[in-house]
């Protein structure tokens, strides 16, 4: 134990003596491991993004010939965005006539102002949706609950806030009963969602991967507010009025039905009879198969970033090796004075362990900084990258292990340095 303490002391002095080398090694390791940690946080965000599941959820895919070509030209190869939405009259027809529950939704940009806080008026993405989707795709509520069927039918201005908007406007506190000005009308908050919106939410058949919906309001209010869909993905021309859109055959409502699987074919036949178009009723499972999480490429990107940490380790090996070459004369002196190969190996490994430990520690603030940067920029999706204990462990442990491994070769070389080689004379 005393010898170990002695080795630690000498290793520490050695690191202090070559401070620039030591700092370079620590930074190499910390930078690479924080990059790996950032990539892992991104991967985990995708992987752990909770997508609600239901065996009774079926998406309606209207196989229309008139818009199919245009949509396919616009979004080639995209299963989800091809013909799987309905136009307003189709939706309305099914809503009233279909035997099973039906839920439609579409996303739009709304003009929003928080009345209580007098915030600057801003445009933000929200969603018109049927209340059914809250039960078909269950989501946890931090406070309150979804609006009722009566609210929906009476076209009451009620709103469910996303976690992110509630945080932004009300500091994350319970805002049920508070008011929000949307498109010039006061909406009463009835519920606040507990979790961030999952990446690629299944209810959104027309878009995905963008910023979260800031709020949800009843789809029955769409004709009242007359806010057009966010995207021109289905042949809808923005220059036309919203009334014209409602009257046109242009589809923009992603629609789901709730039915037991055994009755899906019968429901499909019913829908075809009602809207006169060939329809596919596609289960949620098919949606998931076509849009797996994490999406294709995420693994490759994550593995690529895992290689970065190896590059960091390799750089550390080179620096440790260069350091040991610079110290070979001293190593020769130690050998001449009775240091065994094992003791020199252990000392170099202790140096590597100290660098690895410092690198792992420095990884923590660097990773926090990196996540803060990405969250501030929310490059592709505003679900924040989470700094969790598991992420911390997953980022720092490899840094330490790679740092230790990086010391193996230099330590072996130090241990096998011929003492006479660098002691010019005995």
């Amino acid at each position: 134990m005393e010898m170990l303490a002695y080795h630690c002391r000498l290793a520490l002095r050695s690191l202090r003596r070559d401070l620039s080398f030591s700092l370079a090694m620590v930074c190499c390791l910390a930078l690479s491991s924080s990059i790996w940690g950032g990539a892992l946080a991104h991967y985990l965000r995708l992987h752990e993004s909770h997508r609600p599941w239901s065996h009774q959820a079926f998406a309606i895919d209207a196989q229309r010939g008139d818009t199919q070509a245009a949509i396919k030209a616009m979004l080639p190869g995209d299963w989800r965005r091809q013909n799987i939405v309905l136009n307003w009259s189709e939706y309305a027809k099914l809503k009233h006539a279909l035997a099973c529950p039906i839920g439609g939704n579409y996303r739009a940009d709304f003009l929003v102002q928080d009345q209580a806080h007098q915030l600057v008026m801003a445009r933000m993405p929200g969603r018109f949706t049927d209340g059914l989707l809250f039960s078909l795709f269950p989501r946890r509520f931090a406070w309150g609950h979804p609006w009722s069927a009566a609210d929906e039918q009476a076209q009451r201005p009620v709103v469910v806030l996303s976690r992110v908007l509630n945080q932004q406007l009300f500091g994350g506190a319970n805002s049920v009963g508070r008011s929000l000005n949307i498109e010039g009308r006061a909406f009463r908050v009835v519920g606040v969602l507990a979790d961030h919106q999952p990446y690629l939410p299944p209810w959104d058949l027309a878009a995905g991967g963008a910023d979260q919906d800031r709020f949800m309001i009843p789809l029955t209010l769409a004709p009242v507010l007359a806010v057009p869909p966010e995207y021109e993905t289905h042949g809808y021309a923005r220059t036309r009025s919203f009334e014209a859109l409602l009257a046109s055959p242009k589809p923009f409502i992603a629609t789901w039905v709730q039915t037991p699987s055994a009755q899906a074919v019968r429901v499909q036949t019913q829908i075809e009879a009602l809207i006169g178009t060939h329809v596919l009723v596609r289960p949620l499972a098919e949606h998931r198969r076509n849009y797996p999480l994490p999406p294709q490429g995420a693994e490759f990107f994550t593995v690529l970033c895992a290689l970065v940490i190896l590059v960091g380790g390799f750089s550390m090996t080179r620096l440790l090796f260069a350091k040991s070459v610079a110290r070979q004369k001293e190593i020769g002196v130690h050998r001449a004075l009775g240091a065994s190969r094992a003791s020199l190996f252990v000392r170099t490994m202790i140096e590597a362990a100290m660098v690895a430990l410092a690198g792992a520690i420095l990884t923590v603030p660097l990773l926090q900084l990196l996540l803060w940067f990405f969250n501030a920029r929310h490059l592709t999706n505003d679900v924040p990258l989470a700094f969790t204990n598991s992420l911390l462990l997953a980022a720092t442990l490899p840094a330490f292990v790679v740092g230790l491994a990086a010391g193996l070769y230099p330590a072996w070389r130090v241990a096998h340095t011929r003492p006479t080689l660098y002691l010019a004379r005995v």
């Binding site: 003596r17 001293e330 004075l337 003492p419 002691l423 005995v426």
Partner: protein, 252 residues
């Protein structure tokens, strides 16, 4: 102490082979003070490397205190170096970020002695060499003569039986060189420690019991004297009794 017969050592660098020792035979008796002389490249350094168990050899026999070193493992050679051999380097080779005390303590650390015994031995040798006031100084804060005395203290602290010195006065001014030489003579004559010293200086070499000339990896006798045997075999010392060095003014 040292008995070498027909020693051969070849350095190989790719296809080039350099014969550093070629049929070198030498006997150094216990307690002898031998000066090794010879021009550059004659094999003096290689001889000392092999004698100090820092390097291996390719042919011949080498016994140290009657033990055939060829059969030693690296661990055994390391232990022997630590316990029986002291090294004094021309350029001192002190470890720059260890202070005087810690530098001198290094061989004892590797020997695994307890802290109290280490401290006693180090303080004793530093007192004897007049370095106790500089105990906590770094090598860079010492003069050349002081640094060489620290190196000698480090070589002697383990009470070795064989002291190998390479041009120990080569980097010193004449006054410091004379004092170091007197110290080596004292170690040899009063303590009976075997001293093998490489030097270019005829005057310094003349103070040794015997001068050995090396040329082209062989021992030669310029005056055609055939034998190289010891004439002053004495008992090995149990402790040191070195000349006293006064602490330098201003030392802390």
């Amino acid at each position: 102490m040292i008995h070498m017969q027909h020693m051969k050592k070849v350095y190989r660098a790719g296809l080039i082979e350099t014969e550093a020792l070629a049929d070198l035979s030498l006997h150094v008796a216990t307690g002898e003070f031998v000066a090794i002389m010879g021009p550059s490249g004659s094999g003096k350094t290689t001889f000392l490397n092999v004698a100090g168990l820092l390097d291996t050899f390719d042919g011949g026999t080498f016994t140290l205190e009657g033990q055939d070193v060829r059969s030693f493992t690296d661990r055994e050679r390391t232990r022997l170096r630590n316990e029986k051999i002291g090294f004094i380097f021309q350029s001192f080779n002190l470890i720059p970020d260890l202070d005087v005390f810690d530098n001198v303590e290094v061989p004892l650390r590797y020997r695994g002695l307890p802290a109290r015994e280490r401290a006693q031995r180090v303080e004793k040798i530093l007192v004897e060499l007049g370095l106790v006031a500089r105990m906590r100084h770094l090598p860079s804060q010492l003069s050349g003569g002081q640094q060489q005395r620290v190196a000698i203290a480090r070589a002697l602290v383990g009470q070795p039986k064989l002291l190998l010195a390479d041009e120990p006065t080569g980097n010193l001014d004449s006054v410091s060189a004379r004092r170091i030489l007197e110290l080596l003579e004292t170690i040899n004559t009063k303590e009976g420690m075997t001293v093998v010293m490489v030097t270019h200086d005829q005057e310094i070499a003349a103070r040794a019991h015997r001068r050995v000339h090396v040329l082209d990896g062989r021992v030669i006798d310029p005056r055609n004297q055939p034998a190289y045997t010891s004439t002053s075999d004495t008992a090995s010392p149990s402790h040191l009794a070195l000349p006293t060095f006064e602490p330098e003014p201003g030392a802390r």
